[in-house]
Symmetry: C2
Subunit: 235 residues, 2 copies
Amino acid sequence: MRDFTKKLRVLLIDDNANHLRGIKELISLETSYNVVGATRNANLGLGLIKKYHPDIVLMDINMPEKDGLQAIQAINKLGISTNILILSGYDDSDLIYRSMKLGARGYVLKTMASSKLIDAIETVADGKVYLPSVLTTRFFEYFQNAAKEESNAFVGENLLTTLTGRENEVLDLLTQGINYKSIAEKLIISETTVKTHVNNIFQKLQVNDRTNAVLYALTHGFKPSVTSQSVQAAA
Amino acid sequence: MRDFTKKLRVLLIDDNANHLRGIKELISLETSYNVVGATRNANLGLGLIKKYHPDIVLMDINMPEKDGLQAIQAINKLGISTNILILSGYDDSDLIYRSMKLGARGYVLKTMASSKLIDAIETVADGKVYLPSVLTTRFFEYFQNAAKEESNAFVGENLLTTLTGRENEVLDLLTQGINYKSIAEKLIISETTVKTHVNNIFQKLQVNDRTNAVLYALTHGFKPSVTSQSVQAAA
DNA sequence: AATTATCTAAATCTAAAGATTTAGAAATTT
DNA sequence: AAATTTCTAAATCTTTAGATTTAGATAATT
């Protein structure tokens, strides 16, 4: 959670000197903000971020070539908990999408009212995400599709529930592509016992070989019941 | 896209008679809306939806028991292009999450200003999604996690790119858990040829058996290059 | 024209996987 | 106490799977 007793430290990156000045003035009007730096160059910006660890980086995406997107990646690779808010002149849904995918936390159009910009800064500083509604829709629909696929994995009875604890352990190792011998070593039981378990698994999952057992497991939400895992770690 | 020459047909469902009346009046003030029905019962609402095919269903989620969530599912099962906007007294992030997962397109708190409600209706009617910022963040982060996992599948060189066309076809069938004999039949080549291909695949993917080949394929974004698929469909 | 990549195929072999039956020990449930 | 489930194990057998070598026919490239 954000500390409201301290001023928000903001860094500006915009290759257009006029914009840079304008935004700086606009933000300086807010008493709760502190502009720790302003630069026209993405690389210089990176250095300043390393130096000052700002809470928010306000960055223009329409900088020389595709520097903007690369800068987002570079900033996130620093491992600093800085939230990136993108400023853009264009309402390009695909550009926003890519920016967000690379790790930006908000997107504001330059044509928007300045109150919206403050709104966005507050939202992003608060750890939340600020997006145009078109993009909210896009991300949501991505989620909904994934949720649908996920639920498809659970239609009908899930045969995985019929497996015993030991069978789950064996299936876990099968899904890692391990052969009988190694499974026996890992579980410290004989190879014939493993075969017995595997055959029981096949019958329960109604398959005839390990490949289909693994495929069944992966498409039906198999999650190993992390039993003896810690013990095996040493092996 | 929405047809702006026609009035938006809105249906209301809220078990509280006072709320129902209030919302109805509020919406009736808007000249571009047309309330085609208002009911206090979710089941009755379902009937009205079937009858009138409204553009928007404004529904209270806090109805008797968990009827609200079930109603969302029921409405979507009708296969009618109705957009559901949820009204709720509680700012319960998890309830919103589940509502949206089940197919709602927007969520508005009853404590919000009426202008926000109109905003939400417009947004949802426009085919977009309307969400509180907390939820926007949640959905976005879901997306970002997925995107990260996806990109993890492509770190380093992807050995899948070294496969020839035929090898891709064979691998495709391997990932379906099919054995040598059936693969040979499907591709109308001899079993020994299939073995040759499979061995070449193993070497290229640096694995020793089909299970690991399949696992490699699945974790590295393998998408069969849909070549002779149509031909095999008959087999 | 020569080289290389790809697809095809056979033969041979070894190793691994899978099927099936039987059975004892321990833990759980009825 | 009796019955059932689970985990263990062996023996035996059949069937795939996988490794390796060799090689002819096209197709694509240089």
